[in-house]
Amino acid sequence: MLKTIINKEILEALLSFRFLFGTLSCLILIPIGIYVNMKEYEQRRVEYQEIERLYQERSAGQVYTNFQAEGYRPPSILSVFSFGLESFLPNKVVTSENGDYQISKEQGIGNPESSLFGKADFLFNVGFIISLLGLIFTFNSISGEKEDATLRLIMSNPVPRWQVVLAKMIGNYVVLIIPFLISVVVGLILLNTSGVVSIFAHGLFLPFALILLVTLAFILAMCNLGLLISTLTHRSIISMITLLFIWTALVLSWPKISPMIATILYPVKPQQVHNSEKQLIRQNLENELDRARRELFDDIFTSRFGLTFDQLRKETTEIVTKAKTAFGQARATLDKKYEERITSELKKLDQEYLNRRSAQSAIARNLSRISPVSCYTYIVTEVSATGILELSNFLENSERFQQQVKQQLYDKSIHEWYGPTKTKGAWRIDTSVPGFDPEKQPVPHLSYKPTTLSRVLRTEWIDILLLFLFNIFFFAASYVGFLRYDVR
């Protein structure tokens, strides 16, 4: 019995206009979307290589101990499927001797129109268009049969109601998913033959397979939602209006509204304000350090050794040398203390800010999860390394790069500094450790480590679970809806 109805549903769907429309949409949108994004990725990768090359050229032979190294993030290969936050994520870090590395976004040569309208990447096509298609396939599955009076003919036979609902889900899903999979295969062929990206390359296949599985689950959820609409309405026209309303609310509006609600519920100060605050604190502490050094100078040179500033600068007697050594040691200790203090205070400030940001982000995310499109979007962008996780990953890479350059260069410098409280200026001598040759130093290069799939799964398991639950919920609700459905 179930098989009979499933076959009928498949045949009916194949003969319908919506199948023709759906197949054309898939075959056109999916491969073209992948191809266009691949070309764009190629361009970004070329830009990245070019920038790295220019940096190396320009810096060669001039790698001093206070050198500001530049690190660049290569574009993510999987951004072919989801452009995500690419235009917003930082991709450049500049290290600094004082520990305050700067991150920024290096703008490539963009296309203003595509920023205006957004990218028609795989994520967009599936999230917006294929989702509508899923709804179209099932929105009047039950209500339409009621209108055509075939539903009562079916129910006058010994057919349990759950079989009717299950058959409609399976039949319509199968007919939608096959042209979709074919178009994905076409897209993959375009990718692999381009020479730019190979989906079977190491490390790419598994994330891609995850994206594909999640996509199939998402499309099924939309089919089940359509089926639910069909069991809650009794005329096709009402089903259609309901479908449009729900699609607009879930796909278009809600994901945009939730972050706005989050900013209202939990406001966070802007980045510039935070940076200025940090700047201020650093400045204050550095001023404090300066005062402390000068007091130390007075303490050691003037009080202890009885020397004057002029004597220090002009004489090279034994007592001067002794004084310099004592001061040098005390100063090193003082400097270190302040360095640690500055680092820890700024870190604390950064951490607090990050926490607030994360809290707001969590509110936005959790609110948005009412829509399955949000869950789907989060999974795909995070797996493609174009999501919010990539920001954290980039910060970690930047931190690591800063440490790398510190070890290679900054720690190799020696600063001597002399200045009493009474003078305005100070007398500095900057040297590097013996053996350090800026012309022979390799230009520091950031070897970017991408996020691992397991880390992505640790945050995204919830969206994967939600997609699964959406399916269960929509199907169960359809079943219940049909149990009490008036078939006459």
């Binding site: 009928k8 009916e12 319908s16 009076a149 009562r152 003919l153 129910m155 036979n157 078939v487 006459r488």
Partner: protein, 246 residues
């Protein structure tokens, strides 16, 4: 009247809808094998509600419907094996051919191993044109769809048949052909319950005729009775009389 071998039986059947309307008021009705029972009455008198209760599309407020002795609310899946249904105004699956429609419903009704020629035979029996067998149903006229609906009922070969306004929209020739098929089915021993407005043909084909008014079976006559009475006059008189409820 032997109530025991009634294929279709309504026992003290009542139905009150949520909005308070009493659609059926203690209906008692039975159809034996080889008998045609015609149910007449105004729209809203309860004819379609009776059929819907037999098919368990709605639950009764009180009383029971039995198909071949099976309580349709207690064991609907079993009961539905023994009844065929010809609905009014059925569009069927427009993109399927007549045979594909017939095949689908035949399988639902339990006949899973029929040959194409068997489907054709049933369609010939209802005088559906040969060239229409493999044409898409959406091109069909109402009469053709009605014939296909009847063939769907015939192929199930169930002992009871429920028909809701089967001749409405049929031209006189098609209506006469339909009566012939009904007569054949009757002689095959099927119990047939038919709701209709076609008082003239009800008189012709009905072994028994019942008139429903405001949910009650107010009158029942056998064929013999009607030879001596004018059904049309009886009907009009009943309808013109005072409403049963205030």
């Amino acid at each position: 009247m032997a109530m025991l071998n009634m294929v279709l039986k309504a026992d003290d059947l009542s139905k009150r809808y949520e909005d308070g309307v009493l659609a059926l008021d203690h209906l008692n009705l039975g159809v034996r094998p080889g008998e045609v029972y015609c149910l007449l009455g105004a729209n809203g008198a309860g004819k379609t509600t009776t059929i819907n209760l037999f098919l368990n599309f709605i639950p009764p407020t009180t009383g029971t419907c039995y198909i071949k002795g099976i309580d349709v609310t207690k064991d609907p899946l079993e009961a539905k094996k023994y009844v065929s249904f010809v609905s009014e105004n059925v569009m069927l699956y427009g993109n399927f051919t007549a045979r594909q429609n017939l095949e689908f419903f035949a399988k639902l009704g339990g006949k899973t191993n029929l040959a194409k020629e068997q489907y054709y035979q049933v369609m010939r029996r209802v005088s559906l044109q040969e060239k229409a067998f493999e044409q898409r149903v959406k091109t069909y006229s109402k009469g053709m769809r009605q014939k296909l609906g009847i063939s769907i009922a015939i192929i199930k070969d169930a002992p009871a048949i429920l028909l809701d306004e089967p001749t409405s929209g049929l031209d006189p020739k098609a209506a006469e052909e339909f009566l012939e098929i009904l007569t054949e089915l009757k002689s095959e021993g099927k119990a047939i319950l038919m709701s209709t407005h076609d008082i003239f043909r009800a008189k012709e084909i009905g072994d028994r005729v019942g008139i429903m008014k405001e949910g009650r079976l107010v009158m029942e006559r056998t064929r013999e009775d009607l030879q001596f009475e004018d059904l049309v006059k009886i009907y009009i008189d009943y309808m013109k009389s005072e409403p049963l409820t205030a």
